[in-house]
Each structure stands twice: as C-alpha cells, then as structure tokens.
Symmetry: C2
Subunit: 200 residues, 2 copies
DNA sequence: GTCTATAGTTGGATAGAC
DNA sequence: GTCTATCCAACTATAGAC
C-alpha cells in the first residue's frame, strides 16, 4: 500500500516470514504465504530480497539475535538461593509459551545442513546457544558465589546439549513435568560442579 | 520392468524412498525421485501406496523396527568392565557412519508435528527409543551385576534425551571427540546410579 | 501389473504497467 | 516503489492404453 523505506520494509517482511514459519512450519513458508501475511504484493518480496533463501537467513538471524536470553534477564534480580531454579523456570516458561518457534529453530538447522544456500545457519545457532549458555553459567557462578571446577566451555556444551534434548522430547510428548524435572536435574548436576569462590 | 508381487514391490519402494530421503533430505524426497531411484514408473508408486504420506510412514516404520539396536548386539559379548564403554562406542560408530539417517529421523519427527497425515510418527520414534534405552540399561545392569537405584524409565528418558542432544550437536559441528566425551559422560553418570546387586 | 500421458496445483521468479 | 500479470518448472495424482 504505502511507500516505505526499504530497511523498514525488510523488517516488516522478516517479521511476517517469522510469523508464517512459526505457525505453518518451514516447508509451508512460501513466498506467497509471506506476502499474504505481510499484506503486500508478491513482487515486493523479490524487490526486497534476491531470493527465498535470503529471507530465511534473515529470519534465522532475527531469531538468534532476539534470543538475547530471557533466562539471563531472569537471572538479574534473584536471591542466590533461588537463582538456579528461577533461570530454569524462566527457560521452561519461554519454551512452553512458544513451542512452535523452538521447533522452527530445529527445522532451520536441519534445512541448513542440507541446503548450501542456508549453510552456516545451524552453526550460527550453535554458536549463539553456547555463548548464551556461558553467559548464564557466568551469571549463576557470580550470583551464587562459586567457581567452576570444569572449564566453562565444557559445561556450556553440556547445558545446551541437555536442554536441546529435553526440549526436543517435550516437543513430541508435551510432558511439562518431565521437562521441568530434566532441566532441574541438569541444573543440579552442573551446580554440583562448582566450588565456593575464594573471598576476594 | 518385471512383474512383482505387491508386498515385495512395496519393500523395494520403501528401500528406495529411504535411500533418497537419507541422501537428499525429506523435502526433496518427491514421488518422482523415489520412482527414479527404484527405476520404476511414477504410476507404480501410486499403485502401491495411496499417497506420499503412506510411503513416508512406511519409511519411518522401517527405520524404527530396523533400529533394533546395534548397541544391544554390542552388549551381548563383552566382559563386564568393557560393557558400558563398548555400548557407547557402538552407538557413536553407528551415528558417525550414517549421520544422514539420524538427521532424517529428526526431519521425520519435525514433519510429523506439523502434518496431520504424519501424526503419531514422532511419538512412535520416542516410544521406540525409550524401549531401546530400557533394553540397553537392563542388559548393562545384568552384565555388570547391579540394580538401578532410580526407576529405569527415568534413566531411559535421560539416556535418550542426552543422546539426542549430543547427536544433534554433532550433526552440526561434527566434533567426534565432543560426541564421544558427552556420551561417555552420560554413561558414567548413569552407571553411578547403580548399586551392586544382592547375590541371588 | 505396468506404463505413458496428462490433468490440475502450487511455487519461485520476472517483466512491465503505473 | 508498488502492483498485476505471467512464465516456467516441479510436484501429486489419476486416467487409460497395453
């Protein structure tokens, strides 16, 4: 309808693509469906993006950068004894509220392993998740007052790995209790790998 | 070319579909590609299967039943002290040899969560994996001579969950060492949840 | 049972009017 | 910048000859 600067238009279209992809799944995310969601003509998409892969890459980037963890925010204002539990619960809440988006992340990752035009996208997700995990672990160690007895990179990998596994299982059976149990279990075992920090 | 009883033809086509889906990915697994792989005419597929979803369901079923774990076989003939390690290593070897097939499992699971015609397929995979995990845990407990201090269902869930997480990460970064480490770590922690069995 | 031919959709991409 | 119209390729599915 209205004329828009191309940057703004791009953002609008990426948002629309994200909505469609989250709701319908990656393979039903067609140029037409995106255009309809954004209420623009089909041609507008090809004016703003060279091809479909470019939109999908933009969507993935948007998801990753927007994943500036909610968990981290939750870690900010908690008494130490509630810290680990609250981080876990914040994560569970986030996943449970937006299961389709988590599934989309996995679909994008799978697609990126097959399609050269989406290459690197899965690796980006992994890098982001690991960095987020490190941030959370650092925040927890800082808040509770302990130091890790194992390299934080190793812990970060284990945390992301177990989180992905737990959420994948939950996507399938939707067992909220099992998800919470699994994540608390993971958190507890990681917590046990810290020693009280020496007083500075 | 030659006339074949329909059961045999179906098996041939399912094998072909599995080959294509493993090599090309689920969304490039078209009726045409399957027909070409099996070297039959397109019409033959629709003679043997009502639609595409039915072939995919057959492929999934084939994967699941064929997943009568290699790991279990490996558990059969090992001295107790090597048992846990050898099961882990057999699993790693299986995954590393056929990464695309593992990826296909995940793609099928994701598709089944979106497409009503494939509904239940992800749940079937989960059920199968859990059953296999229980078998492995039972075999290990039997071989090493211990009893689990935690319900075996809980352990089975944790095992499958951590395995899926580790393999998912490996599919992306192909870090063989990290995969082996993660699985050994998982195995070690589960092993610690057993107590020596009372002498019968 | 097997094949060819084709119907009927749908999707990505582009050309050209406005 | 935006929209309509259209091209072309690929797909599922079926009809009907052999």
């Amino acid at each position: 309808m209205t004329r828009l600067p191309i940057d703004q238009r791009r953002r609008q279209l990426v948002r629309a693509a994200l909505v469609v992809a989250t709701r319908e799944g990656l393979d039903r995310t067609t140029m037409r469906a995106i255009a309809a969601e954004a209420d623009v003509a089909l041609g507008v998409l090809h004016y703003c993006f060279t091809d479909k892969a470019e939109i999908l890459r933009a969507v993935a980037e948007h998801i990753h950068t927007a994943g500036l963890d909610v968990a981290l925010a939750a870690a900010g204002h908690q008494p130490p004894d509630r810290l680990v539990a609250s981080v876990v619960e914040a994560y569970v809440a986030m996943v449970v509220v937006a299961p389709r988006q988590y599934q989309l992340e996995l679909e994008l990752a799978m697609a990126s392993l097959r399609d050269p035009e989406l290459a690197g996208l899965a690796a980006d997700r992994q890098t982001t998740k690991l960095a987020n995990a490190r941030s959370v672990l650092d925040a927890v160690a800082d808040g509770v007052g302990l130091v890790w007895t194992v390299p934080v990179d190793v812990l970060a990998r284990r945390l992301t790995l177990e989180t992905d596994g737990a959420v994948l299982a939950w996507l399938i059976d939707r067992d909220d209790e099992a998800l919470a149990t699994a994540l608390h279990d993971t958190a507890g075992r990681l917590r046990a790998l810290g020693r009280p920090a020496p007083r500075p």
